[in-house]
């Protein structure tokens, strides 16, 4: 390997670890919120190990916390998980893995690993960015989840500590980077209005699913050519 390639690799590894640390840290808040929503420590850790995609995990526990049925929570999590399919479509020709490597790599197709690899120009550097980010986020996110779940269990009534308010804040932080676009702003406001509008008439958990209808409608009616939005590398 040339010296330039070695230092580029080192830079990618350093950035990836930074992203892993920053993302892992908020796994603590997920762990605490999940046990506050009524999941056991084991269920909370299973979510981070098996589901391993932050927005879907927060959505599942958020729906449960607001009194929704487990099925509503699961459906919301799955709908949010569809964006990882789009990331995978874009990453496949770049990473070019087959067989068991592809099966293993799929688990860490998330916002952060996509952001750190989708803009690379070679398969070699894309793989380094993807693997280094994906694996550091995976390890730290799971450790932090366990810590947060144990701490949350020790806290007692979550409302005393405002943990219920933390969930809405987490969703706002995840939503915010997507609001730069005008059409996204309109969809967000319409979805929020639909969800609040049906709260009094449908069971908890369903208002959020109803809001997905706004995305469906806007996506079908909109004519604008629209390249898929990929996440920016986190700050």
């Amino acid at each position: 390997m040339t010296r330039a390639a070695t230092s580029e690799r080192a830079a990618i590894l350093r950035d990836s670890l930074g992203v892993g640390l920053a993302t892992g840290a908020y796994g603590v808040s997920f762990g605490a919120v999940a046990v506050a929503a009524g999941l056991s420590v084991a269920q909370t850790c299973a979510l981070s190990l098996v589901m391993f995609t932050g927005a879907s995990q927060f959505a599942l526990v958020g729906v449960l916390a607001s009194g929704g049925a487990p099925l509503s929570g699961a459906l919301t999590a799955l709908l949010l998980g569809t964006r990882n399919t789009l990331y995978g479509l874009r990453l496949a020709p770049l990473l070019r893995w087959r067989g068991w490597r592809r099966v293993a790599a799929a688990q860490v197709v998330i916002d952060e690993s996509t952001a750190m690899s989708v803009s690379r120009t070679s398969t070699e550097t894309a793989r380094v960015g993807f693997l280094a980010t994906g694996s550091s986020v995976f390890v730290l996110w799971n450790l932090a989840t366990l810590l947060g779940a144990l701490a949350g269990n020790a806290l007692g009534d979550p409302r005393t500590y405002g943990l219920d308010a933390a969930v809405g804040a987490a969703f706002l932080a995840l939503l915010w980077p997507r609001l730069a676009d005008r059409r996204n702003q309109v969809v967000a406001v319409a979805a929020a209005a639909v969800a609040l509008g049906v709260v009094p008439v449908v069971p908890a958990g369903v208002p959020v699913l109803a809001a997905a209808g706004v995305a469906l409608l806007a996506g079908v009616l909109s004519r604008r050519p629209d390249p898929t939005e990929y996440p920016e590398p986190p700050r």
Partner: protein
Amino acid sequence: MSPSALWLAVLGAGAGCYLLKLAGLAVPPRVLDHPVVERVADLIPVALLAALVVVQTFAVGRHLEIDARAAGLAVAALAIALRAPFLAVVVLAAATAALIRAF
């Protein structure tokens, strides 16, 4: 909620989310490469996250209510606008709601 229903949701949705990731890497691009599919998939996180924000903040069962959570959300919005990191945003929102409830 029974523990088994929760386990089913956790493991079922977890496995489903894994398969969604694998589908992206493994399915031939032309199967999913359609402008409408792409637009809907891009808009779903926007719509769901916006709905989750307001439902988490204003719903109590089947009622709407403005309480300490709304203050927490306002503080969170301010923190995000000032480019605070994720963890700080979440902690500030929780602390705000906790303080209001304590007094």
